[in-house]
Structure formats: C-alpha cells, structure tokens
C-alpha cells in the first residue's frame, strides 16, 4: 500500500505504480546516472528500479535490506546527491534537481555512515558546521545559532566532549557529534544512513528517542537505514524493505513485518512475535539461513 500525501515524492521511471505491483512485476533495469556518467553498468543488479513512494513529515521511516541492495544509493537519490536516469524526486513540491545545494540543505539533513575526518576540528566546531546553510558568507554565527548548537549538544550529550578534537574521539562518539551536527541543521527531513552502526545501545536509544520526539513534536520526517530489524520495528512508523534495488514491501510495522517477508529479503529463518516488553513486533533468529538466489553483492 502506498503512503499518502506528497511532500517528498520519489518516482523512478515516469510510471505511476503501486508498491504492490513493484513486487510482482518485472521492471526493466535502468541505469542510474550521475550527470553524464553512469554510476552502475546497466546489467548490474544493484540499481534502483521503478520506485514510487512518498515520505511525509511527522513520520519515522526505516529502510531495511541486505548489503548492497541499494539503500545508500536510494538515500543519495532522495537527497539529490545522485541524479536519477529518469524520474524525479520532488522535495516539498519542487524538483530536487532544480534546487541549489544550499536550498536542499535547509530542508534535508544527513547523518552519513562513516565520514572521513582528517582534520582536528573540535566537536563544537563540527556541530556548528550544521548551521552553515544559515550563516552568510564572511559573517559569524548569530546568537541564535550559538544557542541552538548549545541546546542540541546538551540534548545529545555531546557537550561532555565539546572541546575535544573530533579526530581523537571513538567511532561512536564521532557519530554522535555528526548526529548533533545534522540536528543543528534544523530541517524538516532527517536522513540517517546507518547512523547508529558504531554506537552503544544506551546512546542508540537516547538518540532514537530524541529523533522520535522531534518526529512527534516538530513534525520532522525521518528516513533511516537500519541493519537491526528489531530496533527499526520499535521506533519507526513505516518499514520499507528493499531487495536488489526494488522496494519489495512497505507499510506499518504491525501490518507487514512477518516471517515470510524477512525470509524473502534476508534469507534467514526468523520467528516474528509481538513483544509486549518492546511494545512492538520483534524477530528472533537462530543459526539457520536459507540459500540466496542471485544476489548482487556476493
């Protein structure tokens, strides 16, 4: 079932198609192109094909799928980092290709998987960079910028190492600093590309709660790539399952998360049950996998 209202509309292949049909119908492979240069050869299985989807503000989406299924590519298309070969991404009704990077940065923030950090900026300086889209050339941050940065650093617990150098932090601490930076961008949409991969469970839950709070109170739209199906199930409103560049299923956690779907996507044998402690469906696994079909990464 497709999701309603167009705020961030992504269509690919110029054909209006329901997600259910995407699953059944074989769609011709199309190239993803970054300007003139194709990102992937057309015969490659790892490309994004025919996706129609709306992402709304005030909703938490999780994208799940095996390695190399195109999750990061999908996010790159959504934030305008890559250009689709055909089809359009609409951000608040405007084609994202027609917007400048600065306009996009005021609407969409990204916490990337692993950022290279080669220069010893302090954590505070890095978090302040989140205000870049709002600070004019040659001017200093306003007191509003400073106050917001301070507030976000306190909320995320980054203030404890605010004056330390980002190069000296552990992977998890660095991710938290970059997370704080993205929150400072104060955008209607927030993309998390495996933003929790190096974080301990305490900080993962703390940051997910902050994100959840923003979704409910500020009406922020969050689109997150997860590897942990159970974490995704607890915090998100909508799960999006991807496989080999296609969205195979999409909907509310309690509606679509089941054993058959997870087995189809991940080739494992889970048991899915409602867990009253987690207040959500949860999957448990054991040492049993099913054979993969033709997969795109191995």
């Amino acid at each position: 079932m497709p999701i309603s209202v167009n705020n961030l509309f992504f269509s690919y292949g110029d054909r209006v198609r329901q997600i259910a049909q995407v699953k059944s119908q074989q769609i011709p492979v199309e190239k993803i192109r970054g300007d003139e240069h194709s990102l992937l050869p057309p015969e490659d299985a790892c490309s994004i094909r025919g996706i129609d989807l709306d992402f709304n503000e005030g909703c938490f989406y999780s994208i799940l799928g095996p390695n190399g299924c195109g999750k990061t590519t999908f996010i790159d298309l959504l934030i305008g980092h890559l250009r689709p070969a055909s089809g359009n991404v609409f951000l608040q009704g405007k084609d994202i290709a027609s917007l400048s990077r600065l306009d996009i940065a005021k609407q969409v923030a990204l916490v990337a998987q692993n950022d290279t950090v080669n220069f010893p900026f302090t954590v505070q300086e890095v978090v302040m960079m989140g205000r870049h889209p709002y600070i004019k050339r040659f001017s200093m941050p306003s007191s509003k910028d400073v106050a917001l940065v301070k507030d976000v650093m306190e909320r995320t617990g980054v203030d404890r190492f605010a004056s330390r150098k980002i190069t000296e932090l552990s992977g998890g601490e660095r991710q938290r600093a970059l997370f704080a930076r993205a929150l400072c961008q104060d955008t209607p949409f927030l993309f998390l590309d495996e933003a929790f991969s190096n974080m301990d469970i305490h900080h993962t839950i703390r940051l997910l709660d902050i994100v959840r709070e923003d979704v409910l109170e500020k009406g922020r739209g969050v689109i997150s790539v997860f590897h942990d199906i159970n974490l995704a199930a607890i915090w998100s409103d909508i799960l999006v399952f991807m496989k080999q560049g296609e969205i195979v299923s999409c909907g509310k956690t309690k509606d679509i998360m089941d054993e058959q779907l997870i087995e189809d996507v991940f080739h494992v044998k889970p048991k899915v049950e409602y867990n009253s402690y987690a207040r959500s469906k949860q999957a448990s696994f054991r040492s049993e996998i099913t054979t993969m079909g033709k997969s795109c990464n191995e």
Binding site: H37, T116, R137
Partner: protein
Amino acid sequence: MFSDSERKFVERVEYLGISLLASLLVGLILLSASMGYIKIPFHDVARVVLSAIYDNTFSISDNTLLISGIPESHSVIVMDVRLPRILTCAFVGAALALSGVIFQGILLNPLADPYTLGVSAGAAFGACTAILLNLGAAFVSVPLFAFLGAIATLFFVIYLSYTGKNRASVLSSNSLILSGIIIAAILSAAISFLKYLADEQVAIIIFWLMGSFASKTWIDVFVTFLFLVSGFAVSMMFARELNLISLGERSASSLGVDTRKVTLILLITASMLAAISVSVSGIIGFVGLLVPHMVRFITGPDNRRLIPLSMFSGAILLLGADTVTRAVLPHEIPIGILTALIGGPLFCWIFKRGNLR
C-alpha cells in the same frame, strides 16, 4: 568558549597574531635588504624605502630630504636589486603556503602539497622545453613556458579525474591524487629525456629545477603579488566551504556546499598559485607542505584563521631561508635545496612526534 566575551577574546588574539606576524615580516624585509655583500645600515634601508613609497604616492621625483647622505649606489642596490628579490621571495612563500592549505583541504589529505597534482612536474617540463629550444635568451620565455606547462598539466589531471565511471569518484581526493601521481611520473620521465638530449645545457636545466630568486625584477614582484592577492580573496571567500569539504565530500554536500563547483574553483586557484611560484622561482619544496602543518598546531584546522596566518608564516620562512643563502652563507646555494634540507628533517621530527594532522 561560546560566550560573547570569550569569542571577542579569541578574535583579539587572532588579530594580535596576524599583526605580530605582519610586523615581523616587514622587519625581516628591511633587515634582509640591509644584509648582503654590501652592508647597508638598517635605517638607511628604511629611509630609501620610505622615500620611494613617498615619491610614488605623490609623484615627486626630487624628494631629497629623506635620502640625503645616502650614496646613490645604496639606494639602487636596495630598490633595484634587493627589494625585487626579497618581495618576490616573500610573495612566493605566501603563495606556496596558501596553495598548500587549499590542497590539504580539498584533497582531504594532510600530506598534500602544491606539487601533489603534478603542477611542478608540468612547470619543470615546460621550462626544460624552453631551455632546450634555446628560448632562454628571450628572458620571459622560461617562466612563461613553465606556467603554461603547469596549467596544461593541471587541466589534464582534472580531466582525468572527471571521467570516472563512478559518480562518487569524480574530482574526489583519491582520483585527483592518483591522476596527479600518474602524470607526474610520466612527466619526470620526459624531463629526464630532455636532460639527456640537452648536452651542455643540462646545467641550466638542473640549476633552474633547484630554484632560485636571483635577479628577480619588479615585474616578477607585481605578477606574483597579483596572483597572491586574487588567490587570497578567492580562498577567504570559500574558507568556510573548505572547512566542510575537508571533512568529506558527501557530508559537505549535505550541508549545502556545491562540492564540485567549490572544489574546481579552489583547485584552479591553488594550482595557479603553485604555477606562478614555480615559473618565477623554480621548484621550491616543503614550504607548502610544512607551513600549514606548523600553523595548524597553533590555530587549529579552521581555514579562516589558517589561511592568513599560513601566508605570513610562509613568507617569513622562505624569506628567511633566502636571506640565509644570499647574505649569510659564504656561497649562495639554490633555495630549493636549502628548504628541502631544513624542511625535510623538520618534517621528520613533526612526523615522529605524532602530530601529523
């Protein structure tokens, strides 16, 4: 650190640092002009320079008050021989340091320097060609060929890293460094071949390659100054973007930086600075690599502070080195050798201390 008074304090310290370095540079320029084969008293140098500035500002040519009692030859030595060399040297030092800062930022690599992209090899190839074709007699042609060689190399390197199949690798630091190394390797083979062909002119080629500020003219001063000022303006304009790019292309782009545009502009700016430096003075290594590192210890990596301070430090260091080889050492040795001999061990020391960031 965030409160207003503390921010003002930091700003004041920055201005203090910059004015300190600026006065140090002016002092060194005057001191350097007084040193040499003929010793000229420090205050005489100051008077000659002041009167020249005065004359030029008010178009008066018979102002004798300031320079009365100074031999004519002294004022000629200062104005026509030493100052052009000294100023060219200071500007080249600043240009090399500035382009080092920019390259290290956009190539995400603290080890990058103005010559990483093969700019120096291109300039050397151009200069060697000019020398070999005996164009050296027409005295502008060697710098001109060097400049053209550097620019041609730069654009070829950019072209190479633009045609990646993968969008993410277009103009990325890895593809730029790789293209630069490939081109530099090819060009250095070509230079060896030119040397082999050069017979008795090989000495001129080798001497040119080692770098020198001897017999620079006011034209050199003005040309380097022009490039330096425009390079400084462009780099300060994009200093904040450069901060973001130095933390990775994808996140810079998500923070609103048009990374490819800014990278291209800064790349061309930095390479122009390197190209003009090489064509004026030959290949002078380590200034562009070392100065940004040393300044970064003090200022941190924020390019808005790093850029001006690095420029002053680069000017002071290179002028100091050139003054040593010109006026202190019994026999002038090529400046490129001196900077490598001092800079290399210094770099080893910094590297060993584990502060290579």
